[in-house]
């Protein structure tokens, strides 16, 4: 086909932008004119430009500058629990187990996210204050003072700033450890059991076991801060029960032998131990002595009947030490001891050892047997 450009080489092309520009030059047919109109209606020039522009601009890429928040990884020093024990780790082992259970319940495990610094008085309670001071001088997050009023008081005297969690049998208010159970105030809180308060119940139980006797011996540790109040309670109870008491004192192991001998000398029906950690941690020893001497005895701790003693009535140390662990954990988490009310372990448990009873020729009345939490046969 012959094209215009072939025909008209070199001639400048007319730069017409509108069809109408050549509509008068070329004879457009009717439909060509119509088509032109259609185009003018349908194809606004800006159309192509707009789309073109949009294409050029493209989509706005939203590049969110991801602010990399780098949390400075401070080497978190492991919190340290200072554990003040009045005895040796061996004697504390069951309590330590309960304590670690409670700590674990709060999410702490020794060596994993908490360190425990131990101080052991090895039964020499006079050493407790200096050990407590020693502990307080190291970097502690919390001091745990389980095992009686002596430990709690020693810890209290050592620091007024480091939070202290105590565990004891007596009334913390009466012993001057805290001012209030609900709002302990200061840097102390802890767990108390009802062991001290129930020493009179031990006398009552002993009387039931030995109904024919009016004289009973009572073992007191004069070194204990609770001894005076317990002795008073026991005397009141003895009066109301119509009994006579022989008070025997022992604050060291060598005195135990003499104490058991004195029971026989006094012709007492049995030996009722007041609540005292020193006695409690020597339950095995006491049980052995009691069976050797043939003395019916009752102490505060289940350890005693479990070791062959006759019976026990007192607070559940497993619970109290467990709660101590829980509280230590809560303080590690940042709670203030003043906001943690002193917890009282209300559970009081009666343990009876029937083997010991038969060795002593004792028949337990059914009222006791039915009340017992555990009967060892």
């Amino acid at each position: 086909m012959v094209t215009v450009s072939q025909l008209d080489e070199g001639a400048p092309k007319p730069a017409r932008s509108r069809l109408s520009g050549y509509a008068d030059i070329l004879r457009l047919t009717k439909w060509e004119m119509l088509a032109e109109e259609t185009i003018l209606l349908w194809v606004p020039r800006a159309f192509a430009e707009a789309t073109d522009g949009l294409k050029r601009r493209g989509f706005i890429a939203l590049t969110g500058a991801a602010a990399a928040s780098i949390i400075p990884a401070h080497a978190q020093a492991m919190p340290v629990i200072g554990y003040l024990g009045s005895e040796s780790p061996e004697r504390y082992s069951s309590r330590l187990g309960a304590f670690r259970d409670g700590l674990g319940q709060s999410g702490y495990a020794e060596g994993r996210n908490v360190a425990i610094e131990f101080r052991w008085a090895q039964g020499q309670y006079s050493r407790l204050p200096s050990l407590a001071k020693d502990l307080a001088s190291s970097q502690l997050t919390v001091m745990v003072a389980p095992g009686g009023a002596e430990v709690a008081l020693a810890a209290k005297s050592a620091t007024a700033t480091i939070p202290i969690v105590f565990e004891m049998g007596g009334d913390p208010i009466a012993l001057g450890v805290v001012d209030s159970l609900s709002r302990p105030g200061g840097n102390l809180t802890g767990v108390s059991s009802l062991s001290v308060e129930v020493s009179r119940k031990r006398l009552e139980f002993m009387r039931e076991v030995r109904p024919g006797t009016k004289v009973f011996a009572v073992a007191i540790n004069p070194a204990s801060p609770t001894s005076a109040s317990q002795l008073k309670n026991l005397h009141v109870a003895a009066d109301s029960l119509g009994l006579n008491l022989v008070v025997l004192k022992a604050s060291t192991e060598p005195e135990f032998e003499g104490m058991f001998a004195a029971v026989h000398e006094a012709q007492a029906g049995g030996l009722v131990f007041s609540s005292d950690p020193y006695f409690t941690y020597r339950s095995r020893q006491l049980a052995a002595l009691a069976s050797r001497r043939g003395v019916p005895a009752i102490t505060q701790s289940r350890d005693f009947p479990l070791a062959g003693g006759l019976m026990s009535y007192g607070g559940d140390f497993h619970q109290s030490h467990h709660h101590t662990g829980v509280y230590a954990g809560r303080i590690l988490k940042g709670e203030k001891p003043s906001n943690l009310p002193v917890q009282r372990v209300t559970k009081v448990e009666l343990f009876i050892n029937l083997n010991a009873a038969s060795a002593l020729n004792i028949t337990f009345p059914s009222s006791l047997l039915s009340s017992a939490d555990q009967v060892i046969e």
Partner: protein, 580 residues
């Protein structure tokens, strides 16, 4: 591109329309979904919390009922003067069975304490104290069961006295001190949702039981204020869960249920974040779906708009190019729709335009080189193939002015040019009237072809008539010119015969002409003709026949012809002149 582009564009219009068409229903659906979802979830939350509260109340009620049932055992039989050991064993067994009971006193019908057993204190048998005026005993005797107010031992541990009277007055009353701390075991076991909890408030709004036993033991009424506010908030919306703050100040949803028999309220709470977690999750999901839907709609709308606008752009570009004269441009659209049809139309139009343009160009070009009459002829016929070379029988007509050369020497150039222009005009008019083709002017002469390039009927007759008209026309002109020069005259010669006709020429010039004996003869006849004379050869004369009267003159010896040529003359010309 033009910068007078309209600001609004189809792209934006179509895009927004399509986008809106997709997004608005999506928004409506998403919005209503979120709205109804919220209300459903809110209603469900109400139901769940309400059920949890009632369940918790039932559990705590069961706890209290358990103690009450235990106590009821101890007041089944009437008191005798000597009750024996059985009562004591029952009482001790109760302490064993119900650990929350710290102490129990049994009072006979007269209100005397007959038995007291305790976990802490010493047991008493036949204590004999008069308890008949104590509210517990009086309450139990009148209502069978009596619940004392909650007291906090040592300001910490919650205790409550429960007294229960036997079915018969003679059975007396059992009064138990209950350590409410034991409800903790019940309350701490209640889980509302994942992290929700339950707690118990007594009638004045003191915390009796809470999963965090420390809060109870603190017995701090000021700290428990939020819980009382929460309870009040629930009470204002009967049966509905209410939002409020718990003791730690966290926002919670809470519902409440009373404990039957006790004026206690069990409140279950669930952190707002957890309670509305499913709603938020649903809202987030809806939001993400909306965003995704909107994005998809945008992409689709963009795509659709592109599909719509793309072809229009191609069309526009194409039309612009065609408009700019590029008729070879073709709009390539394969959209199988109206656009493709439109593009096809445009392409057809471009083809037509191209053909028109080409034709016009060629004619313009021809016009430049050919005699205007020929060019016009071709333009009229629209086909220049008539100019192609061929052998055809033509009538060649030659004419010229007599005495013009002498006149042109004498006369002023303006006069010469004017005379020539009038002469040409007159000739052209006549030639044009007769449909003949004026091949060329040369000086005072002209060559005219009849039957070529456009063939006609009876060319000889037509040629003779034309010649006559030419003479007529010229003679009248000459009459006007006599004043200038009376020696001017006009002669015509025509001959008929086969001749080769066609375009001849070089790159720069183009001629349409005829070559043949008839052409030569006509030219010679014209030279031989005198003023107002029309000389015709034998072929033309015989072709004319008797239509026009002709006079046969003596054969003449013409240049280039060996033999004398027979010559005819049209009488009219001379007659006309004679008349003038």
């Amino acid at each position: 591109m033009s910068n007078t582009a309209p600001r609004s564009s189809l792209f934006i219009r179509y895009f927004s329309t399509l986008f809106a068409a997709a997004v608005i229903p999506l928004l409506i659906a998403g919005g209503s979904d979120a709205w109804f979802g919220y209300h459903d979830q809110r209603a469900r939350l109400n139901d769940v919390l309400d059920a949890e509260a009632r369940l918790a109340a039932e559990k705590i009620g069961d706890f209290i009922d358990g103690i009450r049932d235990q106590l009821a055992w101890t007041v089944q039989l009437p008191w005798s003067d000597n009750p024996g050991d059985r009562r004591r064993l029952d009482a001790l067994r109760l302490l064993r069975q119900a650990p929350a009971v710290e102490s129990l006193s049994l009072v006979d019908a007269k209100g005397k304490e007959r038995l007291f057993v305790s976990r802490i204190g010493l047991n008493r048998i036949e204590g004999g104290d008069d308890h008949s005026t104590k509210p517990a005993v009086r309450g139990a005797l009148s209502d069978r069961t009596w619940f004392g107010p909650v007291t906090f031992q040592d300001g910490s541990e919650p205790f409550m006295t429960i007294a229960i009277a036997g079915t018969r007055a003679a059975a007396g009353v059992a009064v138990a001190e209950v350590n409410l701390k034991f409800i903790w075991e019940v309350v701490s076991g209640i889980r509302v949702g994942r992290t929700g909890e339950a707690f118990v408030l007594d009638r004045p709004g003191r915390l009796v039981a809470h999963p965090d036993i420390g809060l109870v033991l603190q017995a701090d009424e000021a700290a428990q204020k939020p819980l009382q506010i929460l309870r009040a908030a629930i009470l204002t919306r009967s049966g509905q869960a209410a939002a409020g703050q718990d003791i730690a100040g966290n926002m919670v949803m809470a519902a409440m249920a009373p404990i039957p028999g006790l004026d206690w309220s069990v409140i279950v709470t669930q952190p707002l974040a957890e309670a509305f977690g499913p709603i938020y999750t649903a809202l987030r999901r809806t939001g993400v779906l909306l965003i995704a839907g909107a994005a998809l709609a945008a992409i689709l709308a963009y795509w659709m708009t592109q599909r719509m606008v793309g072809p229009i752009r191609v069309l526009e570009d194409g039309v612009a190019q065609i408009g700019a004269g590029q008729f070879e441009h073709r709009i390539n659209l394969a959209t199988s729709d109206e656009f493709e049809r439109l593009a096809t139309r445009f392409n057809e139009m471009a083809t037509e335009l191209s053909v028109s343009q080409e034709r016009s160009e060629r004619i313009n070009r021809l016009k430049r080189f050919l005699a205007p009459q020929v060019a016009e002829l071709i333009e009229r016929s629209g086909d220049d193939r008539v100019l192609d070379g061929r052998r055809v029988e033509v009538v060649a007509v030659f004419c010229d002015l007599r005495g013009f050369t002498a006149f042109s020497v004498r006369a002023e150039p303006e006069t010469v040019i004017r005379v020539l222009r009038e002469y040409y005009d007159a000739l052209e008019t006549v030639v044009s009237d007769h449909g003949a083709t004026l091949i060329n002017f040369y000086g005072d002469g002209a060559m005219i072809l009849v039957n070529a390039p456009v063939s006609c009927v009876d060319p000889a007759l037509r040629a003779v008539n034309m010649a006559s008209d030419m003479q007529k026309s010229m003679q009248s002109l000459l009459a006007g010119w006599r004043a200038l020069d009376d020696r001017l005259g006009f002669g015509v010669g025509l001959a008929m015969g086969l001749a080769t006709v066609g375009r001849i020429g070089s790159q720069g010039r183009l001629h349409y002409t005829a070559i043949g004996n008839a052409v030569n003869l006509a030219s010679r006849l014209c030279s031989s003709a005198e003023d107002s004379e029309i000389l015709i050869d034998r072929a033309a004369a015989s072709a004319v026949g008797s239509s026009i009267p002709l006079i046969e003159l003596d054969p003449r010896t013409l240049k280039g012809f060996d033999q004398p040529v027979p010559v005819f003359a049209v009488t009219t010309g001379r007659a006309a002149r004679t008349e003038i």
